[in-house]
Each structure stands twice: as structure tokens, then as C-alpha cells.
């Protein structure tokens, strides 16, 4: 099984070594794309329709914005959060601890850091898919206005990166699937409820508002909502920086913890 080695070896450059991990997950996903899309996107779609029509009839408008516009732009962000969080906890944990897929990858030139980055990038990509699907439905319902909406798509990708990195920290600490319930209950669900997805942050007590601004989902909504509904976001750089910073800090914490865990 000898082989002229030069034809077979082309080690990916350091900065691109996460790509084969991302490509592996894409390859698996593309086999099951339809059920997976329905899974990622079915639930937010039901919320959008039920709350949009049901609650929308009661609420009417928020400020000068129809409730369906308000809700669609919120769910655009929450679906990015939910998708990335699920992928980087339950699915990534399966590949790490159950299938031992990571164990196989790190006997090649790739290392734990490459695997973590690849997984986070992949979870962010899935966020992009599901948020884009929501955007298309919102557009079909007439809840999108103006050409800025296209700029919401990279916001979904950045949000996905941020939430996937945070979820990866949880995965690094998890000893079983049960552990993820804590994160869902103490992290993901509170963000879903207080970060302005379903109703404006201004409705809540001052303390809760302060807390909400300390959470990344609020900044994701602050960017995507105006873009989708036809306005330019205020303080866009600040919101982008918050999402990027949360993501980068969480990513380096996750990578450090996972390196310690897997390369002990």
C-alpha cells in the first residue's frame, strides 16, 4: 500500500484546518437535509404563525410596527440561537462522547482546537440555514420590508457563531445529556423570553432590562429587527462587537476546556 507520498499529502494550512470538520458535518447533514430542516425550522415557524396571527390580532401594533413584523424579526434571531445551541450541545456531544468522531479526527493532522472551531462554524452555518428559512417565510407573509433585509443574513451567521461558542463551553463541561437541561432552562429560555423576541424590552422592570442588555440575543435582535423591517440599526458597531466578543471569548474558553478534557 505504498504510494508516491507527494500526491497524497497536502496538509491544510493552520487557518483552514477546521474546514474538513465543517465539511464532514455538512456531508452528514446533506443526507438528511429535509427532516433536519423541518426540525430546525418547523418549530419557530409554528410560533411565528400562531403568535403572529393569534396574538397579533390582540396586540395590533408595537409602536408603529405591525406585530407580525416585530415577531418575525425576533424569531429570525431566536431560531438562530436555538439552532446553534442545539447543534453545539446535543449533536456535538454525541460526536464527542458517544460516536467518538472527534477521537478519530485528532489522530490526523487536525487537533482539538480545529475540531472545536469546525463544530462552531458548522453550528453557525445551520443557524444561517434556519434563520434564512424564517426570513423567506416572513417575506412571503409580507413581514419584510426594504433591501436591508439581506444584511440580516450575516447577522444570523454572527449570532450563530456567538451562541454556538457559548453552547460549546457547556458541552465541554457536560458529563451526560442531562446537563444540557440546565443550560436550556437557565440560559437559552430566559434569553428567549427577555431579550425582545416576543415583546419589547421596555415592557419589563428596569433590573430585567439591564440584564437583557447584558445578553447577546438582545444585541442580535437590535441589529436584525431594523434591517428586516426596513430601517438602519442604531449603534450597529456596538451590537456587532458584543456578539463577536461573546463568541470569541466563549470559543477560547471552550477550546481550552476541551483540550484539557480530551488530551488529558
Amino acid at each position: 500500500m505504498a504510494e508516491s507520498t507527494t500526491t497524497l499529502r497536502r496538509i491544510p494550512h493552520r487557518t483552514a484546518r477546521w474546514l474538513p470538520v465543517w465539511r464532514r458535518n455538512l456531508r452528514v447533514w446533506s443526507k438528511l437535509a429535509l427532516p433536519s430542516l423541518i426540525g430546525n425550522f418547523g418549530e419557530p415557524l409554528l410560533y411565528l404563525l400562531a403568535l403572529g396571527y393569534g396574538l397579533g390580532a390582540l396586540v395590533g401594533r408595537i409602536g408603529d410596527m405591525p406585530y407580525m413584523f416585530f415577531l418575525a424579526s425576533g424569531i429570525f434571531c431566536s431560531s438562530a440561537m436555538m439552532t446553534a445551541s442545539f447543534e453545539a450541545t446535543y449533536s456535538a456531544y454525541s460526536r464527542m462522547a458517544v460516536q467518538k468522531t472527534w477521537e478519530a479526527i485528532v489522530t490526523t493532522p487536525l487537533d482539538v482546537f480545529d475540531v472545536v472551531v469546525g463544530e462552531v462554524m458548522w453550528a453557525a452555518t445551520k443557524s444561517l440555514f434556519s434563520a434564512s428559512a424564517i426570513l423567506i417565510v416572513a417575506w412571503a407573509l409580507g413581514a419584510v420590508s426594504g433591501g436591508y433585509a439581506v444584511l440580516a443574513v450575516p447577522v444570523a451567521l454572527l449570532s450563530g457563531f456567538c451562541f454556538a461558542s457559548m453552547a460549546m463551553v457547556v458541552t465541554a463541561l457536560a458529563r451526560s445529556y442531562d446537563f444540557f437541561l440546565y443550560y436550556t432552562t437557565l440560559g437559552v429560555t430566559p434569553m428567549l423570553l427577555i431579550c425582545g423576541v416576543f415583546f419589547p424590552i421596555g415592557q419589563m422592570p428596569a433590573g430585567v432590562q439591564t440584564l437583557a442588555w447584558a445578553l447577546p440575543l438582545t444585541h442580535s435582535v437590535a441589529l436584525a429587527r431594523p434591517l428586516i423591517t426596513g430601517a438602519a440599526p442604531e449603534n450597529a458597531l456596538l451590537h456587532l462587537a458584543v456578539l463577536a466578543l461573546f463568541g470569541l471569548v466563549a470559543l477560547s474558553v471552550a477550546a481550552t476546556l476541551l483540550k484539557r478534557r480530551l488530551d488529558a
Binding site: A2, R9, P20, R23, R24, Q99, K100, E103, P109
Partner: protein, 306 residues
């Protein structure tokens, strides 16, 4: 003489205060098949994990193919193949997809790959399973797939952790035959095993490890003749204790209990065989000494479930 493929000096790994690999020095030459033998928990897997750069040594150093490890493990791993103790094939993929995906981790995904995969599948007698999912493969087939997956980058060094543990005899024979053929192509092999037979058949040199220490090293046959008398007689049966005390212990000063029987080690087997011929209630087996005898002599007989 080319430089050794692996050199370690005082390589040590401590877990929870206890050394699991303890001041290990090895030199593994290009082209040889080097076997690491030891009971469960001896530290074999931990040694291999340090060798491939998966865990940093607590102290000491190791170089593989000239690269200091773990500092340059990534470049080193591009040139080696690893068959892990437990299969970690990708259950989401077919046989073919497993190989393609794994090749992707080495940055290989171009036209040459298709032909390479065809060769590898043929080599492992898996061509008919190219598009099958792993759930339809037998244990032996999975192990062969793990082997050719490790060959996808045309490695110079192949590291195998218990390559045939848990396989039936036919499946083992096939793996052994393939490993010998790789050996004849000049691929250096490092393998761990606790099957003496495997080590005797495959390895140019075996090293016996216990409690993290290397005890002895050499060609399997040389180790046997150095440590064990050429003849071994295993005796079982009713009245053994008494016969042992009255007759055998005197004829074979070097002996050991083994379960409910005795093992006698002899340079001249004839007196004991003569004594046995009158004993109808005893059954015995006369065989040449083997590596297992060396192994048991050096590592003791108590059970290791670690």
C-alpha cells in the same frame, strides 16, 4: 543506517500521583515491527497516546520521525497512520464515505483519491461493501476498515493498539496476513497486544511492559530461550499435589502452579515424562516454551482486570 523512527528518553506520564508510564526509553528502527506486550493497565495505550501527540508527557521526551512530540505532532501525524484500540469509525457514513472523509482531514480530496480508495478496499477485501453502512459489517470487517482508513495517507509508520482483540480466528488471520504484507513494503509498525501468539508471529522485536516500566526487550524467540527452559510440561489431575511433592518437585526444581495444575520447566524432559507414564490419573501436555511463559514469569500470574 537511517535515524530511528521513534526515540524516547525517560518518557513518563503521571495520573493522579501514580506513574502510568515510567521512565521509558525506546529506539524503534525504520521498517521493523515493534510489539509492546503487557497486561491490562500496563500503560500501553498511554504510551501510544504520548507517541501520537495526544497527551503531553509529564516528563521526558519523545521524537517521532524526527519531530519533537507533542510540539510538532500535527506535521508528524500527517505521515503516520493510527488504528485505535476501539473502533471509532463514522457511523453516519458508508464505508466509502468513511475513507473519503478521513482523507479530507489530511487535506486529500482530489482525483487521485478515487483510485487510492479502490486499492485500499481491495487490499482489505471490502470492495463489495464500498457503499454499505457500518451496521451491516462484521467485527472483522470493521477492523479492516479501521486499518485501511489508517493507510489513506500512505503512512511511513503504522501505530496499532490491540489490532485483533475480540476478533475470531479467521478474522485475525486475515489482519495478520495484511500486516505482514505491509511490513514487507517497509512500513514501520508499532503494535500493542496481549496475545503472545500475535507478537510471536508479527514482531521483529517485542518489549514487555508492566506497571509502566519496560521489563525486557528482544526478538520473541531470543526472549524465550533467554528466560525459559526449552520444555514445558503442564500436568493436571487427581492426586497431583502428592505426586508433585514426592516426585516432580525434585525432578523439575523450576515449576509453578497454574490454576489447579502445575507447570514444569525443563532442560531435559525425559525423567519427568518417564515418571508420568506410570500415573494413570494425571493428564499432561508437553510443549515447547513460548512467549507466554516469559510474559507470565516477568509479570506474574495474578489476574488483571484493570
Amino acid at each position: 543506517m537511517s535515524a530511528p523512527v521513534v526515540v524516547s528518553r525517560a518518557l513518563t506520564k503521571v495520573y493522579a500521583g501514580a506513574p502510568v508510564v515510567d521512565r521509558v526509553d525506546v529506539n524503534i528502527d525504520r521498517g521493523e515491527c515493534w510489539g509492546l506486550l503487557g497486561p491490562n493497565g500496563a500503560g500501553k495505550t498511554t504510551f501510544l497516546r504520548m507517541l501520537v501527540g495526544r497527551t503531553p508527557p509529564t516528563s521526558g521526551e519523545i521524537r517521532v520521525l524526527g519531530y519533537p512530540v507533542p510540539q510538532q505532532a500535527s506535521a508528524m501525524r500527517a505521515r503516520i497512520g493510527v488504528v485505535p484500540q476501539l473502533d471509532n469509525l463514522d457511523p453516519d457514513f458508508t464505508v466509502n464515505e468513511n475513507l473519503r472523509t478521513y482523507a479530507g482531514y489530511f487535506g486529500i480530496h482530489h482525483s487521485r483519491l478515487r483510485a487510492r480508495i479502490r486499492e485500499l478496499l481491495e487490499f482489505a477485501a471490502l470492495s463489495h461493501k464500498a457503499d454499505a453502512y457500518l451496521s451491516t459489517l462484521s467485527g472483522g470487517m470493521l477492523r479492516r476498515l479501521s486499518l485501511i482508513r489508517a493507510l489513506v495517507n500512505a503512512p511511513e509508520l503504522l501505530v496499532l493498539d490491540e489490532p485483533t482483540t475480540g476478533l475470531d480466528p479467521q478474522a485475525r488471520q486475515l489482519i495478520w496476513q495484511r500486516l505482514r504484507s505491509l511490513r514487507s513494503e517497509g512500513i514501520t509498525q508499532i503494535l500493542t497486544t496481549h496475545y503472545m501468539e500475535e507478537a510471536e508471529r508479527l514482531c521483529d522485536r517485542v518489549t514487555i511492559m508492566d506497571h509502566g516500566r519496560l521489563l525486557e526487550s528482544g526478538h520473541p524467540r531470543a526472549l524465550v530461550s533467554e528466560h525459559i527452559e526449552p520444555h514445558v510440561i503442564e500436568v493436571h489431575g487427581e492426586g497431583l499435589q502428592r505426586w508433585h511433592k514426592e516426585t516432580a518437585a525434585r525432578l523439575a526444581p523450576r515449576h509453578e502452579t497454574a490454576g489447579d495444575g502445575f507447570l514444569y520447566y525443563l532442560n531435559d524432559e525425559r525423567p519427568l515424562l518417564e515418571a508420568l507414564s506410570g500415573q494413570e490419573r494425571l493428564s499432561f501436555l508437553h510443549r515447547p516454551a513460548n512467549l507466554e511463559d516469559v510474559f507470565l514469569k516477568l509479570t506474574g500470574r495474578e489476574l488483571r482486570d484493570g
